[in-house]
Symmetry: D2
Subunit: 354 residues, 4 copies
């Protein structure tokens, strides 16, 4: 009884978070863990917060593929998942935390990431229309990016309701430094990032096409007629904390919304109704705004919204943990669906604070 998961790319932050969550999972146990340049090293040497893994060592990728796992998680840098995925036999469920299989458009892929487009897998955001069933039926799932999760879930209910204009979205999001990965770079040293907020990849962040793809689909479900054009100004910044994303998502109300009157209560109400049954989305009570610290280590997204009359803009703020709901937690949420387990199994609703 119980299933086994292999993790390929287990030495980075996404891999470490998978291991942390799987250690607490009642039905999935950790099998082989691969890490390219760390084969033979003790897993807990790289993840000292997981002392129960002292004694287990990293294996190579081929060994992990052949380890007999029911599900394999890929937590690899962009462009590496495709070649590994090609070696995994049919019959094994695969969830990729990387970007390789998220985009449907080869052109969008090339523009965002460069190189050849590997293909498209079922997109692993269960909260989107129709996604839950698709994920449950899929053998291979591409788990969403961290920013796209925060931004898509903020806008989706309002796009679906037709109350905001999807062609005029402006988002600014701040991320903790783990989002930039574990590779040694001088620009990411603690001495550099502490006391610092900085913008990066302004006007050209690779996560934008994923947001556009998601909201285009949501718009198609919500509004009859020709496909809406989704256009989003997306600026990412790095904040001096290890984890967390706070996305400030603004939008122009549609004429329809303006005519009807669109107060803060109505906007938040649309979010509340949309996510009423979602276990991992919390629309906060009126007057409470999301803070990243409240989501630390949890698989939960916190949302709040208002309508700013002076600027005639809707503002939705979302917070999540980029490594949990933004990566490893969401990947396990998908794996639960794919394996026929309860969707919430093993995933914390509770954050760690202070």
């Amino acid at each position: 009884m119980g299933m086994t998961a292999a993790v390929i790319g287990g030495s980075g932050y996404g891999g470490g978070e998978l291991l942390r969550l799987l250690l607490a999972h009642p039905e999935i146990e950790i099998g082989a863990v691969a890490a390219h340049t760390n084969v033979g090293e003790d897993i807990a040497d790289l993840h000292p917060h997981l002392p129960s893994l002292y004694g287990q060592t990293f294996v190579d990728t081929a060994a992990a593929v052949a380890s007999g796992a029911e599900v394999i998680f890929l937590a690899l840098p962009h462009g590496r998942s495709a070649e590994v995925a090609a070696t995994i036999p049919t019959g094994i469920k695969v969830v990729d935390l990387g970007a390789d299989f998220r985009l449907e458009s080869a052109e969008a892929w090339a523009k965002a990431y460069g190189g050849a487009h590997a293909g498209t897998w079922t997109y692993g955001m269960p909260e989107l229309p129709g996604a839950r069933a698709a994920i449950a039926a899929a053998e291979r799932v591409a788990a969403p990016g961290c920013y796209p999760t925060a931004v898509t879930l903020a806008y989706a209910p309002l796009v679906a309701a037709g109350v905001i204009d999807p062609s005029d979205l402006v988002t600014v999001a701040a991320s903790g430094t783990s989002g930039a990965g574990r590779a040694a770079k001088a620009s990411l040293l603690g001495s550099e990032v502490m006391g610092d907020v900085t913008a990066y990849k302004v006007g050209r962040h690779q996560h934008r096409p994923e947001i556009v793809q998601n909201l285009t689909k949501v718009a198609a479900t919500g509004v009859p007629g020709p496909a809406a054009t989704v256009r989003v100004s997306f600026t990412a910044s790095l904040a001096p904390m290890p984890r967390g994303i706070l996305a400030t998502c603004t939008a122009r109300p549609t004429g329809k919304a303006s005519t009807d009157g669109l107060g803060a209560d109505l906007v938040a109400g649309i979010l509340r109704a949309y996510y009423d049954d979602e276990p991992f989305v919390t629309v906060l009570p009126a007057g409470r705004w999301p803070r990243t610290s409240a989501t630390l280590g949890s698989n939960t997204v916190h949302l709040q919204a208002t309508y700013d009359e002076d600027a005639d803009r809707v503002v939705v703020v979302s917070a999540l943990d980029n490594l949990t709901k933004g990566a490893a937690g969401q990947a396990i949420q998908c794996a639960n669906l794919m394996l026929g387990l309860p969707e919430t199994m093993g995933l914390p609703l509770t954050g760690l604070a202070p």
Copy 2:
């Protein structure tokens, strides 16, 4: 030789920064320092980074007013400057770091701050059109707010050039915690703010009308014809660092700009030309984006801009130290002008990093 400054409200962060900067000022020496609830206490007990002030104690406000200073700085909470200012005799220069005298519209004041409007003083942002001469001629100057400085300086050149639509501005800014003051509040404890980014006063931040006032004036200088409507969606967030503001300022290009073609180089070029002679504004070389840490303790604003074709939005990012260029440094910059001293005297161009 040399002049003397009194500081009223010397126990807070703005007051402490005034003292830090004045200690290094070649022509202005520190005279009386008042702090309401700390009269008789050692100044350096509250500001241990200023050990040369051990031995000097806080006096009361009346004593500071009567101390014979050539210039008095007010670093008081909102609503307190007006009553103190009323007791200062004509002939003494006064620079208020608070909001009381910044706004021209009593209605805007009431909406943003509540209570009676105390009046309007010369607005102390020397980089705005015509402001430098007006400040030099003024006896009383209202130093700008921290966010308005970051945001106004980001948009001003583009508004003046008529290449962005001032009625469709969307800004998201992150501030260090010193911007929230030194009063003891549980929500600002280190345990709460470390590891956390959170949005606050969404859609209703009191600094917005000041931004609108500034850009309305800039628009009037740049474009002939009827007054432009300035509308800005402004969202502030708190970042886990003591100092610094990073403002991400987006705007829709005007039809004129779109027709002409508006590349990143052109946008940055407009900023560069506008601030060519400004000692405290640095438009970074192409490809370098502002980071708050590079402005720590300096009176310098760092700017960079681009045009995002996919979103059809201009993005300007500005960074400054909220206590220096955003408060005390800018106040001393104004005082230098008012006292006939070189504008840059005693003000650091250099930040402290890492």
Copy 3:
């Protein structure tokens, strides 16, 4: 089936951590939660990381006492536990996270905390000799302080083995800011603590007598003959992080140890043997030193030790989470024993990193 716990003092950091852990406990559910000044407020308003508690409000202390809970946790400021404890009827298990009942000596209490000594309860550190059984049999248990847990567990094996001189211990420990509580104090503002390490209560920290009491008992178990004098120089410092204690614990080897030769391997080996069966103490592999981040949110203490020949000192370093193993986690560990549950139930062995 299942038991119910009441928490009195649920609004602070210790109380919040109890609630976080109890939410994940398989056999204990959260009953009444009291908070003196927050009666009627939503629990999750003060603990937004616990969104599943939205809807439950704080009650007053009397209501919590009368709520029918099998176990009551007291997470109150020093000096407040005693009066509340007096109102709890016999038959209800009580675990106090405060200091009121930790010390056996009324004189030591008066010197450390001032005021009348309330009494002495069974001391809740299961890893000490004989403690586990005593806790299991007790109705009222005093959970240890955060620093005493880190320091006692570091020295205990070496004191018991007679290889260090308990009269010449020198310890310096750094704590995250949550150890200083959630009351609003200007000295604990984020602006003050970020970028700062500072020593406090030097030479007079109230946790020292608790360390002395613990090690005196350990010494008595290890060495036949007259009672050893335990003397410890203890200096605490505040580090810019929300959680975590790192204690550097040095000691002079006894003559016996020097004669025998006392290498690093031997010292670490003594620790390893002593804690071999302890679920919540991890002696790290050779060459790995404890870091507080690896213990974040876990109930685990990490230890490493060496012998420094040049200084002729043994150095033991211990790390733990001051709110978990240093407070709420250890309290639940005791409650598990008192209630006949498995000692480790509901308590994470795994930390949250990065």
Copy 4:
């Protein structure tokens, strides 16, 4: 008029701090700046807090040596200074911020750093007995290490007064991450260091022999008779902040001291008398303890001391900025002396806070 300084090793944190301080120096201007792997790059690209250096590029080491500077600062990794120093002609003053020339004993060097001992230069800590004149007369000076500065200045007055036993010193010090340098290492990523305190090089830190050398000399000046044996247990830890060292320095009082009675006032009084004329050492008023944030960017050491009767230990706490008084500031202090300038010229007494 004015002198010119060359900086070799200008791309790291020590080099950057030299440039920051020299930009404000009234009599020394920045000449050639060398950085091995960054030749031709813009200095301000690596040091964006120094925007006035945009336009000046790094040169190679030979060019810097030949640049005609009156003084050359070496800010190179251990073991690199010696080879560069060998190429600098007599007549040019040289201050080395590295360790190469600090130790007098080749054996101690080999044990601490490995490799061949390059020699010994005049040791650049002006506050030590006789050092000021020696530095002023020297052509080549080895600036002290960051930890040795904090620890030596804490103990020196008490060792000189004969009131503590130099053979039984126990020190634990926490440093900000800039002390670990700017080279890209995964263990120093912001994601790793934020929220973390960890001990490193326990029992074998390379700075210990420098502390021993300093205090041995101080002991020789204070006490007639045979040379004292200095023995110090030194444990360093890394704290989550960019800058700052807090050293907790404990010592056993001598029999003489115990007999005389050694209260807190007396201990602090010894420090106060010893440093009465020192511009860069501040013994804080009674009851105030050093905090690193108060020294940020200043060349000042803050000290406080007490006698802990229960432990029979003296405790001295010192705080400084590891890059300023602990490195570049102290190096410029030495250069001022060597060049016949006022010792304090261009060096801030004031820190930056909050």
